[in-house]
């Protein structure tokens, strides 16, 4: 990401430092900052200020409405207790277990499938211009539309199962979407369907950026295609893996809509992710403090992933 690229060249024009500089020219000097100020102020207040506010709420006893008397870390204690309440599972236990399953499979399959498709597409394929947009278009759809489409497709009475029954495979059985133990895997399927094409595009861009000379040299040395990819290409794609991982991890933790649209939360909330937990506890179950605490935990998880990434990017560029 050249986002945090840091060039050390000072580009600011020379300031008019003469004591007699007119008010107007001083205003001109201030103008850039005045222009940036509203955006920066909005970020400070509505991002960082609101985060602090949420943290504050998580230490209160807020139920339906915010209450501002600090009552300690009760909300966190409850979440902590629920973390180990597996039989019957607490909603929090279900949410974080699902997060683990979903996050792991979603990221892993998207990376593997994306890389695989990119390598296939990179074999001088005729019709690449047709295939690429087909793999990628799901990214343009909202999670809600994706959820509606897959809900229909995976419905045992209407979709795939029914179709295969009609084709004569009557023993085929696929009801994951109605099964509380498997519903989270349908979220993985729909999520992978939506994002893997995008990962493919990232890897393809990475592959196209690799110096052809290196490949040629390796081929002359007698490397097989498999060796070539394993030993040379994939290691060179390391930065793409990292970027794709960051994007996917961040999408996974934010996924809320997909669960809602695809499963309506699943039987008994069995498809919940922490984002669903937060929404339900805050707005439906009148447990605002607990909802806030879960939001804080989500934020900390993302921060733990993002900040080292941004920091290393920043350092790398300024060196």
């Amino acid at each position: 990401m050249s986002t945090v690229a840091e060039t050390q060249i000072k580009l600011t024009p020379e300031h008019d430092a003469r004591p007699g500089a007119s008010v107007r020219s001083r205003l001109q000097d201030l103008l850039p900052k005045i222009v940036l100020a509203p955006s920066f102020a909005a970020t400070i207040v509505f991002v960082y200020g609101f985060i602090l506010w949420t943290i504050y709420l998580s230490f209160t006893n807020s139920k339906t409405f915010p209450s501002y008397a600090v009552t300690g870390a009760r909300a966190y204690q409850r979440l902590w207790r629920w973390t180990f309440e597996s039989d019957p599972p607490s909603s929090w236990y279900t949410s974080i277990t699902n997060m683990g399953i979903f996050g792991f499979l979603y990221i892993l399959i998207c990376l593997a499938l994306g890389l695989f498709l990119a390598i296939l597409l990179d074999q001088k394929i005729r019709g690449e211009g047709v295939l690429r947009p087909i793999y990628l278009y799901p990214m343009a759809l909202s999670f809600i539309v994706t959820g509606v489409a897959w809900k229909w497709f995976l419905d045992p009475g209407l979709g795939l199962e029914q179709t295969l029954h009609q084709w004569g495979w009557t023993s085929f059985h696929f009801d994951w979407i109605k099964n509380k133990d498997f519903v989270i895997y349908t979220v993985v399927i729909a999520g992978v369907w939506q994002a893997s094409g995008f990962v493919m595009a990232m890897f393809l861009a990475g592959l196209r950026g690799i110096d052809g000379e290196i490949m040629k040299a390796a081929q002359i040395d007698g490397a097989s295609a498999f060796q070539l990819y394993r030993r040379i290409v994939i290691p060179l794609l390391r930065p793409v893996f990292l970027s794709a991982f960051i994007v996917l991890a961040h999408l996974a933790i934010k996924s809320y809509d997909l669960v809602v649209a695809l499963t309506s939360g699943g039987p008994g909330g069995s498809a919940w992710l922490p984002s669903n937990f937060m929404y339900e506890f805050t707005f439906k179950r009148n447990e605002m403090a607990v909802g806030s605490a879960s939001a804080v935990i989500m934020l900390m998880t993302i921060t733990a992933i993002i900040v080292p990434y941004l920091y290393s990017e920043l350092r790398e560029k300024s060196r």
Binding site: M1, S2, T3, V4, L11, T12, P13, Q28, L31, P32, K33, V35, L36, S39, F40, T43, F46, Y48, G49, F50, I51, T54, L117, L120, Q123, I125, L131, L136, Y137, A140, S142, I144, V145, V148, A149, W152, F153, G159, L160, T163, Q166, W193, A201, M202, A205, P239, V240, A244, D257, S264, S275, Y279, M288, S292, S294, A295, L299, I302, V307, L314
Partner: protein, 314 residues
């Protein structure tokens, strides 16, 4: 391959292996194309079928007698909860929210990017890093305070309404959502423009300054005319994100006739009164998907570039 094989037979078997490889590769690519197209295909054909055909026919078969009735019903009659007025109102809600939000956030992003690259000041990296981090936060961590603030502003709006006869947009769901999307989209738009302007020749800006051009003159006459590609990328990115948003929409405009498209679609699909009309549901989903799909088809190249701008090293 044996060492004694003649060069000709070697070449022949090499060509055979190559053909075989090609067939496998094309076969796999074709299979995945089917995997990606399947849900859209099913959604599309279902939206043109009658209920009778859906219940008795095959999900994958083309409609025998294509009918537009489900689309018409989805647009103007379908029920979301207890109100049966179709998707059209919600569609316009989304348009009214998306257009100003995209325009404002793009313009601010362009100005921010311009300042952060061509008018640098001490601490500009920190300012940028703070705005950038905002792109990544889970919105759950700001959801509740924003709801509280929007609630108070709404009450203040009512007071103003009573006092002056005009609420100045306070308490209006569309205005609220535009505000929210601008605030939480700023990080992305700033990022896009900053990266783009980073590569823009600073000499041009300096030369214009020497000629006495002002801050805004340089922006309008030099930066903007050269920003078309990044403007397209930003507009598409913001349009897609805001149109597809569900979390903010359901939290701040989750019911009544102010819902944006995504929330309305979710309600339509989960409305359980009477027979579930799958064809109408699918038509509604298609209507919700069409604007972003059209953008993707028309400007796919820019769409991809936008998605990757925040992720791939430049």
């Amino acid at each position: 391959m044996s060492a004694v094989a003649s060069p000709a037979s070697q070449a022949a078997s090499g060509a055979r292996a190559r053909t075989f490889n090609r067939i496998v590769i094309y076969g796999l690519l074709g299979l995945f194309a089917i995997f990606y197209l399947m849900p859209l295909f099913v959604m599309l054909v279902t939206s043109f079928k009658t209920m009778d055909e859906i219940q008795n026919g095959n999900m994958l078969s083309l409609p025998h007698a294509p009918t537009f009735a489900p689309w018409i019903k989805a647009w103007s009659e379908v029920c979301s909860g207890l109100t049966c007025v179709g998707m059209k109102g919600y569609f316009w809600n989304s348009i009214k929210m998306v257009v100003p939000a995209v325009l404002i956030s793009t313009l601010l992003g362009a100005l921010n990017g311009y300042v952060l690259t061509k008018w640098r000041f001490r601490g500009h990296t920190l300012v940028f890093a703070m705005m950038l981090f905002a792109c990544f936060i889970p919105f759950q961590s700001v959801l509740l305070p924003m709801a509280t603030i929007l609630g108070s502003l709404g009450r203040f709006g009512v007071t103003l309404q009573n006092a002056t006869g005009f609420s100045f947009g306070l308490g209006n769901s569309t205005v609220n959502l535009v505000f929210v999307h601008v605030v939480y989209g700023l990080g992305f738009t700033t990022l896009f423009f900053r990266n783009y302007y980073e590569a823009f020749p600073t000499e041009l800006v300096k030369a214009a300054q020497v000629d006495g051009a002002s801050f805004f003159q340089i922006f309008r006459r030099i930066m903007l005319p050269n920003s078309l590609p990044i403007i397209v990328v930003t507009v598409i990115y913001q349009f897609t994100n805001i149109w597809n948003d569900f979390l903010f929409a359901s939290a701040y405009a989750g019911s009544g006739d102010v819902m944006p498209m995504t929330v309305a679609l979710n309600n339509v699909v989960n409305t359980s009164t009477g027979v579930v009309e799958y064809n109408v549901n699918m038509a509604a989903a298609m209507i919700a998907a069409l604007p972003t799909l059209i953008v993707y088809v028309v400007a796919g190249r820019y769409f991809v570039r936008g998605l990757m701008a925040g992720a791939v090293k430049g």
